[in-house]
């Protein structure tokens, strides 16, 4: 580990965070968040905007995956963001503080607890960062799938690499969505990484930090700061999330998918509907689509949940708000559609190799039969991996206890939706297990990653239950409800 490699790794994070902050300046629901809470969304938006744009430019116009294009793509959002900020400042003067969803007054004891929790979370996150900076990549999927994809794209300078398009070459999962490997290429190209220099490792750890920031923001909106702090601390602790296959130190795409999915959920289910909010959520969902195969299914599920929320609002509100709400949903769906089309176009020229093609073998009858007939095999395996002490330190046991003891939180629609959203990745996994030809292996390889994919909504539901328990316990002073307004989503 040299000073140069550490600086380049951190520069790789800034390569996406700074343009993301520029984009956040253009989107009011993100702009009004305090910087730490904004940063999580900004990082994810930056990854999507830069890597997604380069993906489209390379595939559609033959742009080369080299430094000039990368610098251009990074500079544009930064300039736009600075311009928007300057324009607003000149028009209105320094921005007055805007009420932030979930912001509340805190007592001295609460502040101390919050600082201690923050210190613990930072301490936990330093572990994977240190590991990523000093140890070479040694996880299976990173070396088998995502790393090779990035190396081939970088070597050929195009997303339409010949090695992917010719079935004679030995490539695992050549049709997997390439957003994260492409972002990895951008880091390596931007900082001129040599053959063994893994300057992209902090870029992966940053997804973990972004996920925690998004989780905290969502939990705070839904359950207030005290429960949010506690829930975020609990969720940050399982070693699997830091060091497991799919965790922060690995080069898998599951952490990125979990962050994209969770961030979009927060903006679509917890943020008042608006066109900028819908657009931001849609971009994050597009990120999910371009990150993993499951992303398209998760994006569809989020849009469905948003549509249910919309129906509920339309029933409650006066006529006239329907068109605006539909516009919100349409703005969220448009980037998803664009991502699906782009991905399909890219894949069209890439033959599959020896992978299991789930969609080809997925017939409703076999799916239903497998889902039930295989229960005696699936359930013990799933339980074993869910409650594996070395990976989770009992997190899911605590989760279950809190959810059962605080089950009254389910009276709130938002909590129910978050719980459903958290279970969707697990349901996708279950469907895959129902038709998989190598059941035992695949449960062991994937189940914990499905839990990770649903972590943000599950932890927000956990925070809602915790908030309920904290209020009921009488151990702490009554928590002041979010003061800005009684959020409509709590009704």
């Amino acid at each position: 580990m040299t000073a140069g490699s550490v600086a380049a790794n951190l520069g790789g994070v800034a390569l996406f965070a700074l343009p993301g902050l520029g984009l956040a300046e253009l989107l009011a629901p993100l702009r009004r968040l305090p910087l730490p809470r904004r940063l999580g969304y900004a990082y994810l938006l930056g990854v999507l905007a830069l890597a997604g744009s380069l993906f489209a430019a390379s595939h559609l116009f033959g742009a080369s995956l080299r430094r000039p294009a990368i610098v251009l793509l990074a500079v544009v959002p930064i300039v736009l963001g600075l311009g928007a900020r300057a324009w607003r400042w000149r028009r209105r003067g320094p921005a007055a503080p805007v009420p932030v969803p979930g912001r509340a007054q805190r007592g001295r004891r609460q502040r101390i607890l919050a600082v201690l929790a923050l210190a613990a979370i930072i301490g936990i996150c330093l572990g994977p960062l240190a590991s990523a900076l000093c140890a070479p990549l040694a996880d299976w999927d990173g070396r088998m799938t995502w790393g090779p994809l990035a190396a081939y794209l970088r070597h050929e300078g195009t997303v339409d690499a010949a090695v992917l398009r010719d079935a004679h070459w030995w490539v695992f999962h050549p049709r997997y969505p390439p957003l994260v490997p492409l972002a990895q290429v951008m880091v390596q190209e931007a900082f001129g990484a040599g053959e063994d220099e893994q300057l992209y490792r902090a870029f992966y750890v940053a997804f973990w930090v972004a996920l925690l920031l998004v989780l905290y923001d969502g939990a705070r909106r839904a359950a207030g700061p005290r429960a949010a702090t506690l829930a975020t601390l609990c969720a940050a602790l399982p070693p699997f999330l830091s060091f497991g296959g799919g965790g922060a130190t690995s080069a898998y795409s599951d952490m990125a998918l979990a962050a994209f999915y969770g961030a979009a959920l927060v903006l679509l289910l917890l943020e008042p509907p608006s066109l900028p909010g819908g657009l931001a959520a849609g971009c994050l969902l597009a990120g999910a689509v371009l990150t993993k195969n499951e992303g398209a299914l998760l994006a569809g599920a989020v849009l469905l949940l948003a549509a249910l929320r919309l129906l509920r609002r339309l029933r409650q509100q006066k006529a006239g708000s329907g068109a605006r709400s539909l516009g919100w949903l349409a703005t969220a769906a448009a980037p998803v559609l664009a991502a699906v089309v782009l991905l399909a176009s890219w894949r069209a020229a890439i033959p599959n190799r020896d992978d299991e093609d789930y969609f080809a073998v997925l017939h409703v009858f076999e799916l239903v039969r497998g889902a039930f007939a295989r229960l005696p095999v699936i359930v013990p395996l799933v339980l074993r991996w869910t409650f594996r002490w070395s990976d989770w330190l009992g997190f899911w046991s605590v989760f279950l206890v809190v959810m059962i003891a605080g089950h009254r939180f389910l009276q709130r629609p938002v909590a129910r939706r978050m719980l459903v959203a958290g279970l969707i990745p697990a349901a996708i996994g279950w469907a895959a297990y129902a038709v998989s030809t190598r059941l035992t292996d695949i449960v062991g390889e994937t189940w914990e990653r499905f839990l990770l994919q649903g972590l943000v909504p599950l932890a927000i539901a956990f925070a809602c239950a915790l908030g309920h328990l904290l209020r009921r316990s009488g151990l702490l002073s009554p928590h002041p409800r979010p003061p800005t307004r009684e959020p409509y989503f709590l009704k």
């Binding site: 613990a120 030995w170 070693p239 809190v402 316990s473």
Partner: protein, 153 residues
């Protein structure tokens, strides 16, 4: 007024979890930071040698020098499944072709046409064990077109 014992028990479980998991997490961090401190100033190659073993890394270096980045190679493995994936990663971005033909290849004959035109063969012995490397005559089989890397220019 509702009973408070159930919320308190549940919060007690959360507290017990934190009392166990926070020290474990911080201990993990301390271990990683200590390892990181020991690697300060080491190059990427030296760190690879520390983690994967100097014999493995030296063998990979030899193969990298022998196979140009735009040349393909054949790969196979001995008994340990997955060993060839490990080696292939370290030889990126060189393109690998499996020594054995796979069912998914669109045109088996064309695959054989190409295999015989590949000069290099790498055999993965096991994860972390030095791979074997062979060079062999590359010929264009009768009736086969020259592979792209065999064409002049």
């Amino acid at each position: 007024m509702r009973s408070r014992w159930l919320p308190r028990v549940a919060l007690g479980v959360v507290l017990a979890y934190l009392l166990v998991a926070v020290p474990v997490g911080l201990h993990n961090t301390v271990l990683r930071l200590r390892t990181a401190a020991r690697t300060v100033g080491l190059s990427a190659g030296a760190m690879r040698a520390r983690v994967f073993g100097s014999r493995y890394v030296a063998a990979i270096e030899r193969i990298r020098r022998a196979i140009p980045a735009d040349q393909p190679y054949l790969i196979s493995e001995l008994d340990e499944p997955g060993a060839q994936l490990w080696v292939r990663f370290d030889l990126l971005p060189r393109r690998a072709m499996l020594l054995r033909r796979t069912a998914s290849e669109p045109d088996g004959d064309a695959g054989d046409c190409w295999r015989q035109q590949v000069r290099f063969l790498v055999v993965a012995v096991g994860v972390g064990r030095p791979p074997l490397y062979y060079e062999r005559p590359a010929v264009v089989p009768p009736g086969c077109p020259p592979a792209p890397w065999m064409r002049p220019g």
